[in-house]
Amino acid sequence: MLTTAELEALRLSLQVALIAVIFSLPAAILVAWLLARFDFAGKSLLDAVVHLPLVLPPVVIGYFLLVVLGTKGPIGSWLAETFGIRLVFTRWGAATAAAVMSFPLMVRAIRLALEAVDRGLEAAARTLGASRLDVFFNVTLPLMLPGIVAGCIVAFAAALGDFGATITFVGNVQGETQTLSLAIYSLTQTPDGDAAALRLVLLSLALALAALFISERLARRVARFIGRA
């Protein structure tokens, strides 16, 4: 039903989105924590920067990534020299672009979950001998779980769908960066590519619906587990 190239695009899309979510999760939790629990000079700036990928055109984000993380960019050249890591034209770069685009969605969901945690419970845990870190891992985090799950799934879906940032930053390399969106784009330019494009479009639709469905179910399951249902 699907050609090898199309299957490759599908597998790559899933891989890239998964990596993007896994690596941005700790950062998202940290940022959500900072924004939810503290007041500091520059807080609104941090908030604005985190939300930029939501409001800026994706191509702008992609271009910015290229300038900073490209082989000649300040961080990109350091990465290449010190670790031999190159991001442009690679799946790691594609994951980076996807991660940046979906980061604000993850932070929003996690921040909401964090704000919903009863601080009285955290105080009670401290009186029972738990240090602040202990409280975070054994009380706060478990109670935030439904929100974290929801955030991850939304971010995964957004990462799957990215186009502008990916194509601008890491280009269209079959097998490395040609995710579903890029594959569909290529097919729409190709003569007689409509049938294949349609197949991939339907596939993307199915993935998106699956993600939403799973997100609902999982969030409810987790909520029951932590005694909120």
């Binding site: 009863d118 009285g120 419970l121 105080a123 009670a124 845990a125 401290r126 009186t127 029972l128 001998g129 738990a130 240090s131 202990d134 009380v139 478990p142 109670l143 587990f225 932590i226 005694g227 909120r228």
Partner: protein
């Protein structure tokens, strides 16, 4: 004779600060703190031995919860010092601030605060697992707590499936299992309805008597305080008004506004002396006199607290014989004063034993008619019918702590002495 002289060394139930289990002399809480809360300044200077159940009583907003939160570390003082025994929790000058988790306290909150993502068992063990070296020779074991608080059937359940009363019992158990050196209870029964309160209260009594862990108990309910407290501290707007044993404090004139004129009445300690099966009555031995009460389900020798509402006490100048009232107690009037603004009532305080005081509310007219005055010998008449189960409560186990009562001068530091060994 000042109250101090009168009372020193004459506490009827023993003069040593020892719990029923013979634990050694208790730690003292030294609390000298200033905390600004909005436009209200909380200032409190307190020096208390921690043994039995110390009740902090006062109206809402008096600062009782603030005190508990400061001791627990949930609030930080602006200035001052807090220490329990040799351990300093906070010292503004020395810049000491012990974090909450290192204070070794157990806190029971008004809203239970059980962790919803853990089972009852896991909740109970939460503090136990973090008690460090203290669990090597635990003062409180899991099985003892489960048995004492009746939690066996609840262990594998989740908090959201429990009733309010059950939640509070688990909260009590959880705080106990953290092996605390002091239990802080901040109005633990306030959010429960009457029947739940009645369900949980006996567990707190048991807890007080079974474990040698001192309790600092905050409440605005006189009922709870009278039933549970061994030491009573009255707080108003952040200042300590009086502190001492329950009986003593309640007998103080400036404690009356807290108690509400005529409501609570006197508190006496008594021992069950005998039961009269024929008449279904029991006799209680008090300090120098006896009381006849409806038949109790209590064993001989059991110690009880008896509350005698002031409206149930009538006065006579001579011992009446042709009257239905069974309890006729001889005493000497300590003081008489008008007790309301309209001038209808007068309250007479009568000393009926070395440390037992009864208060009687009579009409001012009667007081003048009988020429009631300090020093006058009178008879207090108390109907047995008035002394039903509601007026009686257990007073087992560790009881005999704070003794010498002092009424503080305005700025004087209030210290409650340990009784002489």
């Amino acid at each position: 004779m000042s109250p101090q002289d009168r009372l020193k060394g004459e506490f009827p139930f023993g003069g040593t600060a020892r719990s029923a289990k013979g634990a050694p002399m208790s730690d003292r809480l030294r609390f000298d703190v200033l905390k600004r809360l909005g436009d209200f300044a909380f200032e409190c200077d307190l020096d208390l031995p921690l043994a039995g159940l110390v009740a902090l009583f006062g109206a809402s907003g008096a600062g009782k919860s603030t005190l508990i939160n400061l001791v627990a570390g949930l609030l930080q003082p602006d200035a001052g010092r807090i220490a329990i025994g040799p351990d300093v929790f906070f010292d503004a000058k020395e810049r000491v601030r012990l974090p909450i988790e290192k204070r070794g306290l157990g806190v029971v909150f008004q809203d239970a605060r059980l962790f919803p993502h853990l089972s009852v068992r896991a909740n109970l063990m939460f503090g136990f697992k973090r008690a460090g070296a203290r669990v090597l020779a635990p003062q409180v074991t899991f099985d003892a707590v489960v048995e004492l608080l009746g939690l066996a059937t609840l262990l594998e359940r989740r908090p959201h499936t429990l009733s309010g009363g059950e939640k509070q019992r688990v909260a009590l158990g959880r705080a106990l299992l953290a092996q605390p050196r002091l239990l802080l209870m901040d109005e633990p029964l306030a959010s429960l309805d009457a029947s739940r309160k009645a369900e949980v209260l006996p567990y707190i009594e048991r807890l007080r008597d079974e474990f040698a862990i001192p309790i600092l108990y905050v409440s605005h309910s006189l009922d709870e305080v009278l039933r549970l407290a061994t030491t009573l501290v009255l707080i108003e707007r952040g200042r300590v008004v009086a502190a001492g044993s329950v009986a003593e404090v309640l007998a103080l004139p400036h404690a009356q506004p807290f108690i509400g004129g005529g409501g609570a009445g006197a508190l006496l300690f008594a021992t069950v002396q005998s039961h009269d099966e024929h008449y279904a009555l029991s006799t209680l031995a008090c300090d120098g006199f006896t009381l006849r009460v409806p038949r109790l389900d209590a064993s001989i020798g059991m110690r009880l607290r008896v509350r005698i509402p002031t409206r149930e006490v009538a006065l006579a100048l001579a011992r009446p014989s042709d009257v239905s009232i069974s309890n006729r107690i001889e005493g000497v009037i300590d003081r008489v004063q008008a007790s309301d603004m309209a001038g209808t009532y007068a309250e007479a305080r009568v000393r009926v034993g070395p440390s037992a005081v009864l208060s009687a509310t009579v009409t001012r007219e009667s007081a003048e008619r009988l020429a009631l005055a300090p020093g006058l010998r009178v008879w207090c008449l108390v109907k047995s019918v008035a002394l039903d189960a509601g007026a009686l409560a257990a007073a087992r186990g560790s009881v005999a702590t704070p003794v010498a009562l002092r009424e503080p001068a305005n700025d004087e530091r209030l210290r409650v002495d340990d009784p002489p060994r």
